[in-house]
Structures are given as C-alpha cells and as structure tokens.
C-alpha cells in the first residue's frame, strides 16, 4: 500500500470512530478511547527503538512526563505571568500565551527528543544494557527534579483547568480525542515509513548483529541516536496533552511505572518486528485494562499486564503476529 493511501485509510478509520462515538456513545467512551489511543502512540514509539533496533527503553514514563510537565510549565507561566517574568518580556509573552495544545504537543516532543539525544549520546556507545539501565535511572532523576521544582507544582502537584468546550468539537475531551488520533496517525505512519526505508534496514542490522553492521560500514551510533530521538519525541508528544486530560498532574501519576510496563508489554504481546504488532497489542491490552479497571480493580489489571508480559516473552516470543504467521503457514502447508 502506498503511503498516501495508508494515511488516507487511517484518517477514514479515525473519523469513522469519532463520528460513531459521537453519534452513539457518551463522553466516557471518549475518555476511555483517549487512553487506548495514548497507549498506541507510546507502544509504537517504544517499538521504534526497542523492536527495530533491539535497544530496551525502560524510561517511557520519564519521556511521557517530560511532555506532560512542559505543558504544565507553559500553563503555569500563562497563569502567573505578572509574578515571574520581567516586565519587558510580559507583553510579547502575553500575546502568545496560553499556547494552544497542538503547539504544546510539538514543544513536548522537542523537549523529550533532546533529553533522549543527550542520554543516548552518553550511553549508546556502550553495550545495550547500559542504555536500558540509564533510561530506568533517568526516569527516577527526572521525577526527583519535578518533585523539587515548585514552579510546576513540586510534590503537591499542579492543577490544569481545561476549558469546558471548544468550538466545532464541543466537549473538550472530544477535542483531545481528535488530537490524540492525529498523533496515532503520525506515529503509525512514521513507524511504517521507517520500516520500509534504508533507515529501517539499518535498524534491523543493529538488532541482528551490531558488530557485523558496524564492520560493514553501517553508522550504528548515528542510527541509534535517530531512533532514540524519534521514539523519545513521540512519547513526549503523547504526554503533552495529558495535563489537560487529567486536570491535575503530580509526579507519581505522571511518572507512573505502568506507562513503562505497558509500553514494553504491548509491543511484546503484539509482536515487535512490524508496526502492526504494537497497534494490536495496545488495542487489546488497552481495552482490556479499561474494562478491568471498571469491573475489577486498577491494581489487579496491572497485575494482569505484568503476567501477560512474562507469559508472552516466555511462550510466544514473536507475539500475536508470530502466532498468526505460524498458524497460517501450517494451514497452507
């Protein structure tokens, strides 16, 4: 399928979903749908580095929170402009603040991408596990900084009050839903493009045998950095609208470990070699969790995710896609 056709198809599906929810559903569907869409973006982003290059990122929550907190920063800045900014700067800032959410998404992406670049540059030259450990520690440190940074709420957290409604879309949650759908389209298209380009083949050589790739002239460090930046930026973009979705951001919720677990579990369960895997994993696991949170309890549904992750990496290393492929192969032969 050509890329423009693919994008068109995504838009059609997204629009159909939106109209369906609007016609037959209620606001709760949009709230639940937003979470699932958010997980599609996170899982796809994780997979660009983890699935394509084979480098494990445990810091999804950190990158996600970077996006969320950059939004909180600009929101708080708009609220307390008179107190914190020198007078000469107030007029130009007043003209652009408060920033619209799409701009905040781009800013969140840039911030997370830059942090990814820095961490990657220091640790990606070493063995893969060092990068994994560094990302894990990165999340803890970013959390420490946010806990100590009073301007964005510190450990008490910050309130972000979204407007009740926006023109055209109506309720604010529907507007966020549409924005997140657009992010899903961007993430899926990017992942699919990477997969079929020279870049993707470069990533695959790193995953399969980095030493051989380096020896045959593949610029491995450069490729790994590209993957880290793209993946981190997408996670930051997914985090940027989060304060407006939840209304109240505190370090424990923004840096919740469940983001990291889900971002790893979803591609692992779906299958890591293609963009379809994280999509399937995120839809299945995301929907399952929404149902489990409502019907059972939120602690128990996290246990289910953890157990599914362990079960799948042991029993079905290629995920659902792998199971499907071996099943269809058996059928034809």
């Amino acid at each position: 399928m050509r890329t423009p056709v693919f994008i068109l198809l995504e838009i059609v599906i997204g629009a159909a979903l939106y109209l369906l929810f609007r016609r037959y559903g209620n606001d709760y569907l949009f709230f639940a749908g937003y979470t699932v869409l958010q997980f599609i973006v996170l899982a796809t982003a994780w997979n660009i580095l983890g699935g394509y290059c084979g480098y494990v990122n445990f810091g999804t929550a950190g990158f996600f929170a970077l996006g969320a907190y950059s939004s909180v920063f600009f929101y708080t800045l708009a609220q307390s402009l008179e107190d914190v900014v020198p007078e000469s700067l107030q007029a130009p800032l007043k003209a652009i603040l408060p920033l619209p959410v799409p701009v905040l998404i781009i800013i969140g992406g840039i911030v997370a991408g830059l942090i990814g670049l820095g961490t990657g540059y220091l640790t990606l030259r070493l063995r893969g596990v060092f990068f994994a450990i560094a990302t894990l520690a990165l999340a803890v440190v970013l959390q420490t900084i946010m806990v100590n940074w009073e301007f964005v709420g510190g450990s008490r957290g910050a309130y972000v009050i979204p407007p009740n409604a926006v023109p055209v879309f109506g309720p604010y949650i529907q507007y966020l839903f549409v924005l997140m759908s657009i992010l899903v389209i961007i993430a899926l298209t990017a992942a699919r493009l990477i997969e079929r380009s020279r870049l993707g083949y470069g990533f695959a050589t790193i995953r399969d045998d980095e030493l051989a790739a380096e020896a045959s002239g593949v610029p491995t460090l450069k490729l790994k950095l590209i993957a880290t930046v793209v993946s981190g930026a997408l996670m930051g973009m997914a985090g940027a609208p989060f304060p407006f979705y939840i209304g109240y951001v505190e370090p424990d919720s923004a840096f919740n470990l469940s983001y990291a677990v889900n971002a790893i579990a979803m591609p692992m369960i779906g299958g890591t070699t293609s963009w379809v895997g994280p999509l399937i994993g995120a839809i299945l696991l995301g929907t399952l969790q929404q149902i489990a949170t409502v019907t059972i309890s939120s602690a128990l549904n996290l246990l289910i995710v953890g157990l599914l992750l362990i079960g799948f990496v042991i029993v079905a290393p290629s995920g659902i896609i792998g199971l499907w492929q071996s099943w269809t192969r058996k059928k034809t032969s």
């Binding site: 445990f58 220091l122 596990v129 060092f130 450990i133 579990a265 602690a299 246990l303 362990i310």
Partner: protein, 289 residues
C-alpha cells in the same frame, strides 16, 4: 557546627554505604559475573523485607536471624528463576531484549502482588537495637545503621572467600569469561550459573532485612534502588566485590552529604549523576579490568 554536621554526614554515609554494598552484592554477581541483567533484584530485596516483617511481627524474632533462616528458600527461588531464564532466553541467545523484558515484568508483578497483599502503608520491624545509638567522641553511630553495616561487611568477606578459595567460586568467576574452558574441566556452565544466581538472590534476603531495619518499607521503594544498585555496580567495576564496596561507600557518603546540605529529596539524583559520569568517562569502573 558546620564541621560537626559534615563529620556526622560522612559517618552516616559510610554506614549507609555498607548497606548499599549489601544491596548491590547480588547484582555484582548476577550482572557483573554472569552477564544476567537482573533488574528485578530490588523486588527480591523488598520481598525479603516483607517476609522478615511478617515473621518479626508475629513471632518477635530478630530481623537478621529471620533473613538468615530464609536464605535457603531465596537460594532455591533464585535457582528456579535462573532455570526459567536459561530455558526461555539464554539458550537461544535472546537474553538482550526478551530477557530484560522478562525481569522487568518480574519486578512489576512482584511489586503489584506485594501491593495487593500489604497495601501502601509503611511497614517497619521491632528489634532492641533500633532507636538507640552509640555515641563516641561526640559522633553518633545509630545502631540501626551500624548493625546492618557490620553484618554486610561480614557477608562480603564470606562471599569473597567463597569466590576466591573454593572450586565452585572460581568457576563462577570464570563462567562468563570462558564457558568453553569450564566445559573442558568437566564443569557444566549452566549448573555453575544456577548456583551463582541462587547465591545472588540469597543475598537479597539479607539486604531486605537491612532495608527494613534502616527504614520503613512500602512495595514501591524498590524502584528507588535500581538506579543506585547499577550506579554502584558500574562505578565499582563489573564483577569486582572490593570495587563494589568502595563504590558503595563513596555513593553513601556523597548521598548523605547531599541530603544533609541540600535536602533529602535531592538524594536520588546523585546516583544517576554518578552513573552517567562513569559511563561517559570510565565505563570499566574504578576496579574494572
């Protein structure tokens, strides 16, 4: 006054460092010697803390004695986890991506299980030496730090003797470097790794007892230790027990000074700074080969 504060911070840091060394010992074996990136290690430590807690609260046994009694159980647990890890990942050379995800899942599942059973309340233990302290020349040595420090040192000496003076110990040090040579000596590398991994998890039982003696414990506290553990392990030089002790004491002192002079909420950032610095400047660590 300022000087007194500094001396006390350094002493507290050294005592804390002994505890950090005990926490890191298991990782030094599994990550440093066996090349198994067991990021679930903190979860096993917290599990140890809660077992100590249950027994201490119901029977009043001393936390450290409890942890020594459950050492064999932790050893068996470690051996089982390694067997699963070996059969599912290591055998096929898939440890880098799926093995890591496996341990991450294990970390998460253990934490959620403890959360479901014990809730989010802080739990602590009773022992005669918690609360009082030894005062020596105007400097305070709190027993709740001193006792873990001494037991941790004893554990390290025992481990070091085991590794350098017994056949199995030497085989453990050799296994990640040259499994082929081990095979030629008629030793099964998998068996050696299973034993070593069992020992590494067994140290988590002791470390868990230390942890709950030093501070009240909640299920999620393990995560705070991941950065520290790996920072110490990398800074000390992979697989070097003396390096681990030096690095742990160093980190303990730096953290203690940071929290005395800048506030305890900044302490977690120290380990990450050290980790990044080490990876950037000297990836082989202080005493690395």
């Amino acid at each position: 006054m300022e000087f007194d504060l500094l001396i006390n911070a350094i002493i507290a840091g050294i005592l804390l460092g002994g505890f950090y060394a005990a926490v890191t010992a298991g990782i030094s074996i599994s990550f440093g010697m066996l090349d198994i990136v067991n990021i679930a290690h903190p979860a096993f430590i917290i599990l140890g803390s809660y077992i100590v807690y249950i027994v201490n609260i119901s029977f009043g046994l001393d936390p450290i004695i409890v942890s020594i009694l459950v050492l064999p159980a932790f050893y068996i647990l470690g051996a089982v986890v390694y067997q699963v890890y070996y059969l599912s990942f290591e055998k096929f050379g898939q440890e880098s991506l799926r093995g890591l995800a496996f341990f991450f899942g294990l970390l998460f599942v253990t934490e959620v299980c403890l959360l479901l059973v014990f809730g989010v309340d802080y739990r602590s233990v009773n022992a005669p030496y918690i609360g009082s302290s030894l005062t020596f020349g105007g400097i305070e040595f709190p027993y709740r730090l001193l006792v873990p420090f001494l037991v941790a040192l004893a554990m390290f000496v025992a481990l070091q003797i085991f590794l350098s003076h017994t056949f199995i110990g030497r085989a453990v040090m050799a296994v990640s470097q040259d499994p082929m040579a081990l095979r030629l000596m008629a030793v099964d590398p998998t068996r050696i790794k299973r034993i070593a991994f069992g020992i590494s998890i067994a140290t988590a039982s002791l470390a868990g007892a230390f942890l709950i003696i030093i501070q009240p414990v909640i299920p999620s506290v393990g995560r705070d230790y991941i950065g520290r553990i790996f920072a110490i392990c990398v800074l000390g030089g992979l697989g070097s027990l003396p390096g681990t002790i030096i690095a742990a004491l160093l980190l303990g002192v730096i953290e203690s000074i940071t929290s005395t002079f800048y506030g305890p909420s900044w302490a977690p950032a120290v380990s990450f700074g050290i980790l990044l610095l080490t990876l950037a400047v000297r990836p082989s660590g202080l005493l690395g080969r």
